[in-house]
Symmetry: C2
Subunit: 498 residues, 2 copies
Amino acid sequence: MTEPNAAYKALEAAFGRAIRIEEAAGWLHWDQSVTMPPGGAEARGEQAAALAETAHAIVAAPAQGERLAAADAGDDPWAQANLREMRRRHAAATAIPADLVGALARAQSKAETAWRGAREASDFQAALPSFAPLVALSREEASALGGALALGPYDALLDQYDPGRRAADIQPVFDRLKVFLADAIPAIVDRQADWPADAPIRAPASAQREAGVALLRAIGFDFHHGRLDDSLHPFSTGTPEDSRITARWDENDALSGMMAVLHEAGHAAYTRGQPLAWRGQPAGDAAGMTAHESQSLTYEMQAGRTHGMSAFLASLLREIAPRSRVTVDSVERSLLRVAPGYIRVEADEATYPLHVIMRFEMEQGLIAGDLAPADLQEAWNAHVEDDLGLPAPDDRDGCLQDIHWFDGAFGYFPTYTLGALAAAQLYRTAAADLGRDALEAAFQQGDYSSLTGWMRDRIHAKGCLYPSSDALLAAATGSALSADAFEAHIRERYLGRG
Amino acid sequence: MTEPNAAYKALEAAFGRAIRIEEAAGWLHWDQSVTMPPGGAEARGEQAAALAETAHAIVAAPAQGERLAAADAGDDPWAQANLREMRRRHAAATAIPADLVGALARAQSKAETAWRGAREASDFQAALPSFAPLVALSREEASALGGALALGPYDALLDQYDPGRRAADIQPVFDRLKVFLADAIPAIVDRQADWPADAPIRAPASAQREAGVALLRAIGFDFHHGRLDDSLHPFSTGTPEDSRITARWDENDALSGMMAVLHEAGHAAYTRGQPLAWRGQPAGDAAGMTAHESQSLTYEMQAGRTHGMSAFLASLLREIAPRSRVTVDSVERSLLRVAPGYIRVEADEATYPLHVIMRFEMEQGLIAGDLAPADLQEAWNAHVEDDLGLPAPDDRDGCLQDIHWFDGAFGYFPTYTLGALAAAQLYRTAAADLGRDALEAAFQQGDYSSLTGWMRDRIHAKGCLYPSSDALLAAATGSALSADAFEAHIRERYLGRG
């Protein structure tokens, strides 16, 4: 057994410091999204920029380059993975000049704040003056990163969310999926044509919040180490010790808030299950956003739309909406009904990839410079008509519906659908290991514990031990990421054939 | 007009960065006190330590020392004040080794968390294992600071809260005050002997919170730039753009929450009124804690206990406690009734200094090593018997009532009573300038605007322009800090003679 050398130890100390500062930035962002009064936005941007610049300076410091050249992690595969992740972070950080880091943090903070107001007013033009500079800075970032990593600009951004992932590998998967869905969606819609129309489940926000808490307790969310709050866009953030989620409550559709809770709780479970032996080190982190979405979509889609979970959700919703005639069947129909709609986060499993694929196309255009920020609204509405077959939406339900681009996250959207494919593959393996019937019987009580335990061992606790989410998935399921399991799942669940 | 030189400009950039990181640390602390789930405490301690160490490293860097030696601020008195504050901060930072900074931040975070549990359980022994190491580290800090600043250890801590203040100057002021109060308190109690006993004002916490919001709106608190939240110990924190306060609600005493709101709103008004031209620089900060408490105590004590404000508070409380027979007279009696009690933050104006003086004595003992942390409970209870004439309290109402020491704040308590003296002096001057009757007539509508405007010009907007809070007070009132105005105020308000 070879021990790590001194250069490696010095890197651990430096990256540990940077990670704590990034965690602090995460809490400032949580506060900005959940509690901060609007007047605090500009100063918050300065604070966020100072933290981003400081963490960046540590990771990009020439001293780390010298240590990386001299470092030996010994023969512990975890330490080796940690060193690999440190190299990756150092390479990315040195590619981006410090002033660009600060400018990006400020521009993100500003655009996100403008987005809140613009979305409320359903007015893309109100967001554009702060969105356009953010796109320009993101293009600069993409070029700088691409130059240093020998990748195209968009691939360089993608690589930050899902190391090793390339647009050229995604495209054929998405193309095939589009062909599959072009057949499957009309067939499903046809099969569901005689389903009765169920009235939406109406309940006050406060009652939904309480039901959300009950749901979280049932699935094993630990409130000693987490919180549930309200925000304009549901999200999850935090650390293994304090893993928080947010949701929003539509008083005309109580089920949608519950599914958002399940989605975010999947992220939170991943965060909570990170390997504590590598806490505060790069190797202890999650394996990128495709892996993260595989967890949220397992919770929300794979497990969350089973018959057992429909029964549990019906029991929760019946209590808060006694007038809405909630039945297990009506909940199950709501969860499985396939119909193109405007809102990605409320989309059914079958049409969801269409939302992602159109965003994948548009964000490549934004980063390549083929799509000007000012033309986003028009491009969006054209996609809605062409890809979803719906008339053009207003901006609130259109190009302003998602926070991501206004928060500077380009290259993130594809991971939702890649995560959905991974979730199908993981759930199929988990069901084979644990017994599908036993698993789904537990869901009748909202009990996710054996599913979470399985994911903890194979995904959560693996941190960044593997060099990519594909390698992690292959270790967990025995095969590389493909659309096979997802397509089989859609056929089984929606078309009654395997 | 001479312009600042390049060395000065470089200092501005460096200190600006450090201040943003300190602001970020302030938000992490707010979150820890208001929203963080208990399981997050240890990781939060690490994040706080990383920010403290990072800000400290910037301020203490040898590069700043070299720049300070070469810096010329030109002839703008604000830039000169900024340079003076940078020198002060650099001298203090270089005195404390980096590892002590981190150890203190971790120990504070740990002791504060333990204090929350121990206070709940009223068990000092539960807090002691994390309190004792914090005292040891604070003594180390005091020695290191004292060595570098040529001050005694306790004075060195005091100087961090109120630059230029020395224990030897405080002692005669407190001694004289003790003599004055030894006569005044029994005389006041005697005068109030025939006051009817008023039933406490009972109201649910939620109604009190709403009344707190109404009170804040009336006095001019800007919710676009601030928040009101609940916490175990009321506090105020933030920046001019986002100045937050917290309160706690005693369902058996609705008036106490309102007065805590007024107190914290005084702090928040000071923060909100800091000079924006010097935002993010040392000169733009508040002039220490005596100046800060002069604002909170003006709001809570000087203005908050006038007849006009009693009438306004009665109108608010009548709405939330319709059964409690609230009258202007009953509220005024509650606010002016003098009676030694256990809780500092609920103490009347006359006995409040006794609470502070006993803490001043004990914390000098803790820092000198004459009082062992393990003996604090015993010392506290002896003081309660000797100084307040009350039987020994339980720990919750005794040595665990205040967060300060468990948060590592030694040398802070005297500023409450120095602030009370300053508040009396400021209010006397403000009343002479604005007309006492006009001022107090506005309070009948809860309107603090002219008082706040006066303070904004003379105190808030002055930042750290003056080298000490005494100099600031002298500029605002024409005379140095003394107990004269406070004693006259007590005689006028409570003994009916000027």
